[in-house]
């Protein structure tokens, strides 16, 4: 699903990622861990083509995106679901509209949107709040809207960048359970986190990054830092 070969990312003289190589197979649930500022989010930005690598090669689902053209970026992002710590919801759109927007932006027919969006909102348990605005939701609910939006065009890869960073323990568990469920139906999940309990509780593959380098990659790993 994701193949990264010798990726280096520099900002001036500062090296955020230094010669990173890894492969994530289709259907895997991988946690990418490390302390703040170690390059985790930079790696996510490279995978979604928000940043370009200084050196190396990135292949997503067989598509070499290393030198992706700007007009191709939207097509890449429609194949990858992404959720963030700060939810990144459109504040002036309702729950329904936030999720529908992801489909509307890629030209999906209105009838399909009318059918699919309520189904996805039901999966994340928000079918009773479709007309609410983000400011009317709790943190956990906002993150579930973000997950629904990320899932709505059935991506093969879901990237969750610190999805529980702004949530309490109950909401954290609900979100992680949802990610596990999503993985069980075949979606590859890349979880970026520095929450020790979450990562240890998963007992899945853990890649640890420190100072821009991978220092461990364990199939059933733990948070070792």
């Amino acid at each position: 699903m994701i193949t990264i070969k010798g990726i280096t990312k520099k900002y001036g003289n500062y090296t955020a990622l230094d010669d990173i190589s890894l492969h994530i197979a289709s259907g895997e649930f991988v946690s990418l861990v490390g302390q703040s500022g170690t390059g985790k989010t930079t790696l996510v930005k490279l995978i979604i083509a928000e940043e370009r690598p200084s050196k190396g090669e990135i292949i997503i689902g067989g598509w070499d995106i290393t030198a992706i053209k700007s007009y191709e970026v939207p097509y890449l992002r429609r194949q990858i679901g992404v959720i963030f710590q700060d939810f990144k919801l459109l504040p002036k759109k309702t729950v329904y509209e936030n999720v529908a927007f992801a489909l509307e932006s890629c030209g999906v027919a209105a009838a399909t949107i009318l059918k699919v969006v309520p189904q996805v909102l039901k999966i994340v348990g928000l079918d009773n709040k479709i007309d609410h605005y983000p400011w009317q939701l709790s943190g956990g609910e906002k993150q579930r809207v973000a997950i629904a939006r990320a899932l709505v065009h059935k991506p093969k890869l879901l990237i969750a960048d610190e999805p529980t960073g702004n949530l309490d323990s109950i909401n954290t568990k609900e979100i992680i359970d949802l990610l596990i469920k999503i993985n069980e139906i075949g979606t590859t999940v890349l979880l970026v986190s520095h929450n020790r309990d979450v990562v240890n509780g998963l007992r899945r593959r853990v890649i640890t990054v420190e100072e821009g380098k991978i220092i461990s990659d364990q199939v059933k790993g733990r948070y070792v830092l």
Binding site: S70, P74, K88, L90, S105, C106, A109
Partner: protein, 307 residues
């Protein structure tokens, strides 16, 4: 696909107009004020040009005929002059008409009237009344008429002839200066309006900069992100010009008597003048407003799309 995207862009633009109600109100007010200042200048120019045109149209010159001028010569000259393209009209004024006109002009001057009546005969010769289509042509025409061959018919050597010629040149110069000044002031106001509207649209889009980033993250193309902002700008422009039209007519009716008092015979019917050019005037204003707001939107969104 194109029409589906266009329909959705319209939907998003209308949603944004409604859901960012106060931002919409502020933007519409500012665009309306900017367009109103341009309209005010356009109307000022319209009134000033009307005054200048009226003055030009009323500019005419009387050339006295010599005592020796024969009726047939005069009629031939009038006919020939009337054939010239630059001349609007040449009329022969008989000696008795000249006398009547003179009496009318000096009816309050008892000494002159008494002096005239003391004379046994009409002291005036006939004259020619010349008016032209373009006041700037007067000079060349009068120079042409100053040639010796017309000396037998026209009194071209008296001071009145040259005073009239100078006066017409002055009027022509002033009308050109007024036109240039009007154009310069209009250009200045248009530039200020462009800057104000540009900054207003920029500020509006600045408040949406995070949304633009989010839309890109979920896979929206640059045009899909941009188009609702462009449509919103077009709607701002149309609403603003409609508001301005709604304000203009009652205001014009209110101001008309004051303009009439101020300009007297040179006045202009504002409502009639604007109404007769309604599509041209407001079409041009909507066009200008759309051009400025859309360019501002394109520029502002590009900045955040590139981030």
């Amino acid at each position: 696909m194109f029409f589906l995207d266009l329909f959705r862009s319209f939907k998003f633009a209308l949603q944004s107009l409604w859901r960012n109600f106060w931002l919409t109100i502020v933007t519409v007010i500012i665009v309306t004020l900017a367009m109103a200042s341009v309209s005010f200048l356009l109307i000022f120019n319209l009134v000033a040009n009307n005054v200048v045109d009226t003055v030009k149209a009323k500019s005419e010159i009387y050339i006295d005929l010599t005592e020796d001028a024969k009726q047939a010569q005069v009629e031939f000259l009038v006919a020939e002059l009337n054939k010239l393209e630059d001349i609007r009209e040449v009329i022969y004024i008989t000696p008795s008409e000249t006398l009547d006109r003179f009496k009318e002009e000096h009816k309050n001057d008892e000494v002159i009237i008494a002096s005239l009546e003391s004379l046994s005969a009409n002291p005036f010769t006939g004259s020619l009344k010349l008016s032209v289509n373009d006041i700037s042509k007067f000079d060349a025409l009068l120079t042409e008429l100053s040639r010796d061959e017309y000396g037998q018919i026209l009194e071209i050597n008296n001071s009145e002839f040259y005073e009239a010629k100078d006066l017409l040149n002055v009027i022509s110069d002033y009308s050109k200066k007024i036109e240039k000044l009007g154009f310069g002031i209009s250009l200045f106001f248009v530039l200020i309006s462009i800057i104000v509207v540009f900054n207003t649209i920029q500020m509006g889009i600045y408040s949406h900069r995070e949304e633009i980033g989010i839309m890109k993250l979920v896979g929206a193309s640059n045009w899909f992100v941009r188009s609702p902002f462009i449509i919103e700008s077009i709607l701002y422009s149309i609403i603003s010009v409609v508001v301005m039209i709604l304000i203009f007519y009652p205001l014009a009716v209110y101001v008309q008597p004051h303009i009439d008092n101020f300009l007297g015979e040179y006045t202009l019917d504002l409502v009639a003048s604007v109404s007769s050019n309604f599509l041209w005037v407001f079409g041009l204003e909507i066009g200008i407003a759309i051009l400025i707001t859309v360019l501002s939107s394109l520029f502002a969104t590009r900045r955040y799309l590139d981030e």
